[in-house]
Structures are given as C-alpha cells and as structure tokens.
C-alpha cells in the first residue's frame, strides 16, 4: 500500500530519468568539452567555452540584447494585456467567451505562422504597419522593423500576449465582484476602485504572467530567427548557429546552459518576491 503511489509514478519517472535528466546532464557536460575545426568534439574537461562566453564582449552584447528584448516584451505584455483581461472580465456572457477565444486562441496557432504574419506586416518599406503609421501621420518616413530589436519586440509581444491575459484573467476569476461593489458603495470612484481594490488583488497574476512571458521571450527561437534574421542574434539563435552551422556544439551548449541558469535565477527570484509580498494576502 505504501509503495502504491511510487509504483504508479514509475513510468513517468523512468521517462524523466532517461529522457530528461540524462540528456540535460550530458549537455552540461558537453559545455566543458573541447572543440576544434578539424578534430571535432574532444571529451575533456576544460573551462574554455565558459571562459569565452563569460568574457567575450560579443557574448555580453548578445545576452544583453536577449534580456533587453525579454524585458520590453514583458513590460508591453503587462501594460497592455492586464487592462484587456480586466475589460474581458467585465463583458457580458456571449461576448466574453467569444473574445476570450479570439485572444487566447492564437496561443494554439503555430508560432511560425504568426511570425510570418508579422514579417508580412513589417515587410520592408511598403509594409502595412508603416503605411498605417504614415497614414495616421505618426511618422513621415518608413521605420525599419525587419531585422531590428523593435520588430522582434513587437512580434514577440504578440506571440506571448495570451499568456499574460490568461494569467491575469485567472486571478480576476478569484476576485469577488461584490468587493468592487462594496468599494463603490463606500464612495470610491471607478479609478480609485481600479487602483486601490482591483490592481492589488491581480498583482500576483500580473507577476506570474510576467515570469512566464519573460522566460519564454528570453528563450524564444522562431520569432527572433525570422524577424531578427542572421544580423540580429539573440542567445537562442546564436546557439542554433553554433549547433547547426558552425558545429561548435560545446560552445553552443555553454550558451544554452548559461541561458537556462539565468532563467532559473530570474524565475526563482520572482517567485520568492511574489511569495514574500503576497503570502499574507493569499494564504
């Protein structure tokens, strides 16, 4: 009887031990191996790759870009996604479901197809976005979007926005609507209700959405590869090149492991922050 739960977990444990833990450990090990143009991968234990990744300014710049992009994507997603979740939550019955489907649905549509859409919208000088911006008189000359950080940020924000809306939406569901009415009855205006009553309660939702969006943005591959191209490298596209073009697997592994460690640190730190600040409110 005591062994029953473990026996039930055996298939999953075997899978994870064999196909997750072993490969990940091998990758960490790989990042310490040596590599040469002609000799290939040499299974020795050296710090060369780590030294290169940590000291070379090329890698500094590339990691800085990766996290800059992730930061702005997270900021934009929170800034625009949270209000939309709130508006959605106030909608009436059929519309609420329909628009929830419209906004969350893209999550399940291929990232490649969605990014292709942005490539078409940006599309050089004649792209639809530039035409619209110029039509509204916001800009006088076309802005470059393709192969720029701005373009990557806009497309990634679109790709990851549903996660933010979903997280905020989930925390809004736990909110008692009577609490808002109570605040109104006590004389609070709509803006005060939003700032003093709603926002503090959905803050954990926004933060957990932000953690997800940040992690996914920093490790996103297809979108920066298509919009950023070969000229604008981020950590993931760089690792891809090392693996499939340069064939310097140990260096690529070092980049990937460093990215993983950085993300674990960010997620762990954010979770600690959320727990410490909101534990008493949401015990």
């Amino acid at each position: 009887m005591r062994a029953a739960p473990y026996l039930l977990c055996v298939p999953a444990l075997v899978l994870f031990a064999g196909v997750v833990i072993v490969p990940l450990s091998m990758t960490v090990l790989l990042s310490f191996h040596d590599w040469g143009q002609y000799k290939g991968i040499e299974p020795v234990f050296i710090l060369k790759n780590w030294h290169e990744v940590l000291s070379d300014s090329y890698f500094h710049e590339m990691f800085a870009r990766t996290f800059r992009v992730a930061f702005f994507v997270t900021l934009l997603a929170a800034l625009f996604g949270a209000p939309e979740a709130y508006i959605l939550n106030r909608m009436r019955s059929p519309w609420r479901g329909i628009f929830l489907l419209v906004i969350l649905g893209p999550l399940l549509i291929s990232v490649v197809a969605r990014t292709l859409g942005w490539a078409l919208l940006f599309g050089g000088n004649s792209g639809l976005v530039n035409k619209a911006l110029m039509g509204m008189g916001l800009i006088s000359a076309p802005l470059p979007f393709m192969f720029t950080e701005v373009g990557v940020v806009v497309a990634l924000t679109h790709v990851l926005m549903p996660y933010m809306v979903l997280a905020v939406w989930a925390s809004l569901q736990r909110l008692d609507p009577q609490v808002e009415n109570a605040a109104v009855a006590l004389g609070a205006g709509p803006f005060t209700v939003l700032r003093r009553i709603v926002l503090p309660q959905v803050m954990p939702g926004i933060l957990s959405g932000a953690v997800i969006v940040f992690a996914l943005a920093a490790s996103a591959f297809a979108t920066p590869a298509i919009i950023g191209g070969r000229r604008l490298k981020v950590a993931s596209t760089l690792a891809y090149d090392e693996f499939l073009n340069t064939l310097n697997w140990p260096l690529g592994a070092a980049v990937a492991v460093l990215l993983l460690l950085a993300l674990i640190a960010v997620i762990w730190g954010a979770n600690r922050l959320v727990e410490r600040r909101y534990a008493q409110v949401f015990a």
């Binding site: 990758t27 479901g97 489907l101 990232v111 298509i226 690792a239």
Partner: protein, 269 residues
Amino acid sequence: MSRNGPIALTYHVLFVSFMLAPILVVCFVAFTPEGYLSFPTDRWSLRWFYAIAQYPEFISAFWRSLWLGAISSAIAVGISVPAALAIARYRFPGREAMTALFMSPLMIPHLVLGIAFLRFFTQIGLGGTFTGLVLSHIVVVIPFALRLTLASAVGLDRSIEHAAVSLGASESVVLRRITLPLVLPGLVSGWALAFINSFDEVTMTVFIAAPGTETLPVRMFLYIQDNIDPLVTSVSACVIAITVAALLVLDRAFGLERLLIGRSAGHGR
C-alpha cells in the same frame, strides 16, 4: 456588474485588431493571384493552395506532424494517468518534487531541450529518427496531459468508487467501469491539448529533425529562412484553418478556458 465604457471598448477593439492582424494578413496574402507577396485586391485566387501539391515536402511533413502529435500525446496521456492518480490520491514523501519534475518541461526552454536531445540522440544512435522525435515530444507535452488528467482525478469524488465497492465491485471493475469513464473527459482534453502543442512545436524539433523527418512547422520555418513567398502563406493559412477548426471543437467540447487554465469542471453539484 458594471459595463465597459467607450474608452474601454475602443481599447478592446484596438487590442483585438492587434491580436488578429498578423493572422488575417497571412490568410489574405494566401489568396493572391500574383507570383509575389501582395494583397489580393480585385481578384482572389487559389493558385497558391494548388501549388502546395507541387511540394511533397509540405504534404509529407504535415502527415508526419499529425502522426507525431497523435502518438506522442497518446503515450504522454498513458504515462500521466497513473502518475495523476498517485498525486491526486496519496500523500507521500517526494510528491511535491515529483509533480514539479513532471511539470518542469514547461519551464525548461525548448531551445535547451532541443540541444540536449540533439546531443543525447546522436550519442545513442537515435539522431534524426522518428523514434527520437516521439520521445522528445512526449517529454514536452507531458505537462499538458498531466495537468488535465490531474484536474479530473482530483475532481473525482472518492465516495463514488466507495459506492461501487460497497455494491460488490472488485478493484478492476471499479477501475474499468467507474474510474476510467469518469476521468475520460480529462484524458481526451489532455490528449487534445498535448496534440496541439506537439503539432505546433518548432524550437526543439528544429534541432532534432533531419531531412526526411522534418515536421510541418520545421519545414515552414526552414522555408521562411530561405525566402518568404506566397506558397508559405498558403501553407500557413491551411495550418491556421485547421487549428481554428480544432479550437472551435475543443471550446464546444470542454471550454477553452478550462483547457488552458486546467480547472476541473467536475460532475453534478
């Protein structure tokens, strides 16, 4: 409940336009009659849809993605069910750690998984094989399968099984006649969500798929890397149409919100 004001509704319209714009653009451009990327203005044409037939790589990649998704999701659900029952029903040392482990592929970047699998499969002789693809896809879709099977296992009223036992049912009868039918909706929705995620996966698969085992998203990605022409928009339009159709069916059957948040609707009261 108070209503949204005009400012909120304007914002909402802009937001929805932003979310839909790139998807609609792809679908529009797919109908262009021209040989280059352009919006169909006065004339719509299906020529780029017919053109897909000329590229067997897309067709075979599509079928491969379908099979890959179906098989890996089915195995993922098969592995998730006993684990979900264990997590839902027992309090045992290591329970939290195991749950975290099984959900971890959600938090490990697919890039890292792709690299790890590339190295691993090459070492053990599975590099570029369909078996390798299936193994890797089981890992990335297991959290989705587990989340929904877990939700339905937790939502299951233990006393229903007790009732069956008190009426004389043996353990295997309870499992077959009571437990499995009751968690079936969770299993099906878990499989469906896992399938969609497998079908769309590109970041990890691009590392491990070889020519001959490319999935549809990988083929599309590699094609776009070379050049963007109306052909890839018509392929994308097909993918979008299939996904939207699946989405509508899933939403009617289970509720999309429940599928994505992973809440159990439960039975009865």
